[in-house]
């Protein structure tokens, strides 16, 4: 199983600090513990061996050369009595024989070790009721006989409890634990502190980056100190400055381009106004039959194109208003049915030959800018009639939250590669294609109008045939001070 690292720098730092602190604590405690334990035990052991030796040396000379079991038992009892605070129990064995005394049993290993030599051996054992130190101490002959200094074959075994020492050692363990807790706490605190030191600049960088993302390109950070993060902060500031510069440049260029478009359309309007004022007169004379046919044709051409040009300029001005943010919503509660039918009626579109409407039966009142919705519907239906095939189906559904209007046609649909661009300004599916009726701005204007309503406008192809444009408008628009 893979251990998942906690996310984030701070928890990781804390974990790392705690791990290092715990490890060093463990090593220190283990070494200290081992050292102190063996020191305590060695001292106890040496003391016990020394005391036992003293007692044996003082009591053994009283034993007969060939002591009976009774002598040995008395000897062991005497030793027991002399144990003092050590509280040992002794037993005597002759030539590896059974133990005489109160020592209980001793291990064969200890017996084997002491059997032949004259060296003292000991072992520590863990017993059910505590730790024990067992000492095996051979007795040598004393006196001045020729046997003096040689092993007598008698071995005294002493068993003594190490409970006091155990208590000392466990106190040591407790002390080690008690020391570990503040050390770990200290590790956590210093980890948090270190994390803070590292993370504060990181957090500042993050906040600044978020600000820049949300558009505040003038965000800069204070450069304090001389570490790697300071360098990063400096680089960040440089980057922000570069971004701001480029952004300002792009904005200026875009604003210039837009202003140019607006200015051009505006300048074109005045001569167009003069021309438009007389197109009706031209039409009238051209159709009167009094002019030569060529002149009449020329006049009709001029007046038609003048009208188209006027429409185009109108659309350009409209787009410029959107670009300048000067377009405002004038909301009204209107009947959806009325809005749709007025749009069809004004354009002279016939039901159901050209347009089929499927509206909700309860005729909901919708809160929209009726003039703008009229533009959207007219542009979508006009587009469908031009590029699709009649009849166009307009289907509206209203829920509590939104109003959805589909405008679908029966035509060939929109080619896949054109679909993402249908709302682009002046987008022509085929560059070589003849100029269409519209200005090339109709769908872009429709999109802007829907956006102004905080709605969405999407284009798609129907599974079988034809294209469908879907308007989704929220029904919760509010505007103060409108009747």
């Amino acid at each position: 199983m893979k251990l998942a690292l906690p996310p984030g720098l701070r928890p990781r730092l804390v974990v790392a600090f705690v791990l290092v602190a715990a490890l060093s604590e463990l090593i220190t405690a283990t070494l200290t513990f081992r050292q102190a334990r063996s020191a305590i035990l060695d001292r106890t052991q040496n003391g016990a061996v020394h005391d036992l030796r003293l007692q044996i040396d003082s009591l053994a000379p009283d034993l007969p050369t060939n002591p009976t079991d009774t002598d040995l038992r008395i000897f062991a009892r005497q030793l027991d009595r002399a144990s003092g605070s050590r509280g040992w129990h002794t037993g005597v064995s002759r030539d590896g024989g059974p133990l005489i005394g109160t020592a209980g049993d001793v291990s064969n290993a200890l017996r084997d070790a002491t059997k032949s030599g004259d060296t003292t051996f000991y072992e520590r054992v863990e017993h059910a009721d505590g730790h024990r130190l067992r000492i095996g101490m051979p007795i040598n002959y004393t006196g001045r006989g020729k046997e003096a200094g040689k092993p007598s074959g008698l071995v005294v075994y002493a068993v003594l409890p190490l409970d006091g020492e155990r208590a000392d050692i466990s106190a040591l363990v407790n002390a080690a634990w008690a020391g570990a807790v503040p050390a770990l706490a200290f590790a956590v605190v210093s980890a948090l502190f270190a994390a803070r030191r590292v993370l504060r600049p990181v957090r500042q960088l993050r906040t600044a980056a978020e600000k820049i993302t949300s558009g505040a390109l003038d965000t800069r950070l204070d450069v304090v100190g001389k570490d790697e993060l300071t360098t990063l902060t400096g680089t960040f500031n440089t980057m922000a400055a570069a971004l701001e510069r480029d952004d300002a440049k792009l904005r200026r260029m875009e604003a210039n381009a837009r202003r140019f478009a607006a200015d051009v359309s505006h300048e074109l309007r005045t001569p167009l106004a003069a021309m438009a004022a007389v197109t009706d007169a031209l039409d009238e004379d051209a159709r009167s039959g009094t002019l030569p046919p060529d002149t009449a044709d020329a006049l009709l051409l001029v007046s038609d194109e003048t009208r188209k040009l006027a429409g185009m300029i109108e659309d350009l001005m409209e787009i410029s208003r959107f670009d300048a943010g000067a377009a405002v919503l004038h909301l009204d509660d209107v009947s959806l049915r009325t809005v749709v039918h007025k749009t069809l009626h004004l354009r002279g579109w016939r039901e159901p030959d050209e347009v089929i409407t499927e509206l909700p039966g309860d005729d909901p009142r919708v809160r929209v800018d009726a003039r703008r919705i009229d533009v959207v519907l007219a542009n979508l239906i006009g587009n469908a009639l031009r590029h699709g095939a009649a009849p166009v189906t307009l289907r509206a559904t209203a829920t509590q939250e939104s109003l959805v209007i589909d405008v679908a046609d029966d035509g060939p649909g929109i080619p896949e590669e054109v679909l993402p661009h249908v709302f682009d300004r002046f987008y022509k599916a085929d560059a070589a294609r003849a100029r269409s009726e519209g200005s090339g701005l109709g769908l872009a204007i429709a999109m802007e109008n829907v956006r102004l309503h905080h709605g969405t406008l999407t284009a798609a192809n129907l599974p079988d045939n034809g294209a469908v444009f879907t308007i989704t408008l929220p029904r919760t628009l509010r505007q103060e001070d409108q009747p």
């Binding site: 005045t270 009204d332 509660d333 003039r371 009747p483």
Partner: protein, 232 residues
């Protein structure tokens, strides 16, 4: 035949509009500045003024205000500007309607006709000849087309008068702004509703005691306007 005063600084537009107007049988006096326009207003005595907003010297808005100080002549703004704010200010200054340039002669003609028609289409059940009706402090005389307040005749511009007559013919009935646009201004359903708002504002300034708390022309939020009911 209508006597039209055209105040327009661009010579080409002036020529074009004059040509279009005279084709429709109107007698037109065209001037290039606001000052000349104010002079011509007295000398030419037009039945209707077509006013460009962008004028050298005295602005179109100022001309609009000056004309309204002395005259109730129907006033239509010719606006070449895209920014609608000027149109709104012009309407608030007392213009009755506006036409956005470029506009064909037919469009201008239609707007002129609508403004010149002295009364709105009569609503069902309100015949003429009933004599003046008294509503609160207002006395509305549908035959003489005169509105008096405390016995004093109010100088209402044509659109204001038409709107008041239309609304007061059906007291307490609410009309949407689209409906008012169609019936009073003869615009399409999708005309500029600000025409209505600006006209209501001007009308209230003239007939209401407190235009901020109107008693005669009341706002029905979300629906439109209605005449009355007067507070008891």
């Amino acid at each position: 035949m209508t006597r039209v005063l055209l105040i327009e600084d661009d010579p080409a537009v002036r020529r074009g509009v004059v040509l279009g107007l005279s084709r429709n049988g109107h007698e037109t006096e065209a001037v290039g500045t606001g000052e000349d326009g104010l002079d011509a207003l007295v000398a030419f005595k037009p039945d209707l003024v077509l006013l460009d907003l962008m004028l050298p010297g005295m602005s179109g808005l100022e001309v609009c205000r000056r004309i309204r100080e002395t005259s109730r002549v129907p006033l239509v703004i010719l606006s070449a500007r895209g920014d609608d704010i000027d149109v709104v200010i012009g309407l608030e200054a007392g213009a009755d309607d506006y036409v956005v340039k470029p506009a064909g002669a037919a469009v201008i003609e239609a707007r002129m006709r609508a403004v010149l028609r002295r009364v709105a289409p009569v609503q069902t059940g309100t015949g003429t000849g009933a004599g003046p009706t008294q509503v609160g402090d207002l006395e509305i005389d549908r035959d003489a087309l005169i509105v008096r307040k405390h016995g004093e005749e109010l100088p209402l511009a044509p659109s204001e008068l038409k709107l008041l007559l239309f609304l007061s013919a059906a007291p307490e009935r609410t009309f949407s702004r689209q409906q008012l646009l169609e019936d009073v201004w003869e615009h399409s359903y999708y005309g500029d509703a600000r025409l209505v708002d600006a006209c209501v504002m001007r009308l209230r300034a003239k007939i209401e005691e407190d235009p901020r708390r109107p008693a005669y022309v009341q706002t029905v939020r979300g629906f439109g306007y209605r005449f009355g009911p007067l507070p008891a």
